[in-house]
Symmetry: C2
Subunit: 143 residues, 2 copies
């Protein structure tokens, strides 16, 4: 399966978030070709700033694997992870992070460039237009 | 009440973590002079890297307040927050962060210095010796 395939699954999660009035960001975690966790942003429903899709997906994947390290896993997320999520991904020792749209204002690359594990591979821009459009439309309607 | 008073409560949480074989870090969140959340590290029990005391305390405080912002709250934590936790504290817009021991290797000050809200006040070194000794003894025994 391609990165695009899994990013589409993350986008599906982002659409679920959108339908619930949440900021439309979704994530999936893949291990050995299988999706072991899916999550979308739930900060509004849970009124909890820590309920980003990546944090929820890390917790779910750890539960599934029965261990706290996500070595040999890939996270797909529709928007570049924030400082908090990149820090969490660093602790998890996840091997690969693939994101859709960059986030210049809140993304980890500008504010915590060493957050991920030194051996973690990062790829941005997968289905970037779709991922970015979801966010743009959401915030335009909010204004 | 003084910062030392609340840090002692965070230290009590750290001792609970120690007794359970967890990395001995504890946190409390104070609002209007009242402790509204207490938590200690649970990464081993939950096998979840996101279960740091600060993240658990933020979730508990938000639940208590019924809202996701912790403006006008102070977090007391025995060790300088990591990148992940500082990112979470930033999202929460917490007003003040007080920590005990610095963490040169994993602390946010070196790796994500802009993680907290720009108006957040930070104070380190409160009961530093006690907080640091707990960590040092824990890791010495692990070797």
């Amino acid at each position: 399966m391609t990165d695009e395939h899994y990013m589409k699954q993350a986008l599906q999660q982002a659409h679920l978030a959108l339908a619930e009035g949440e900021i439309p960001i979704g994530a999936v975690i893949v291990s050995n070709g299988h999706i072991i966790a899916k999550a979308h942003n739930l900060t509004e429903r849970l009124h909890d700033v820590t309920a980003h899709s990546e944090i929820l997906a890390i917790t779910a994947a750890s539960e599934y694997l029965g261990g706290k390290y996500l070595t040999d896993c890939t996270l797909y997320v529709t928007v570049e992870p924030c400082i908090m999520c990149a820090g969490a991904l660093g602790w998890s020792q996840i091997s690969r992070v693939v994101y859709g749209a960059p986030d210049e204002k809140r993304g980890f690359r500008a504010f915590a460039p060493k957050a991920l594990h030194p051996r973690c591979e990062v790829l941005g821009g997968v289905l970037e237009q779709e991922c970015a459009a979801l966010m743009k439309n959401f915030f335009q309607k909010k204004r």
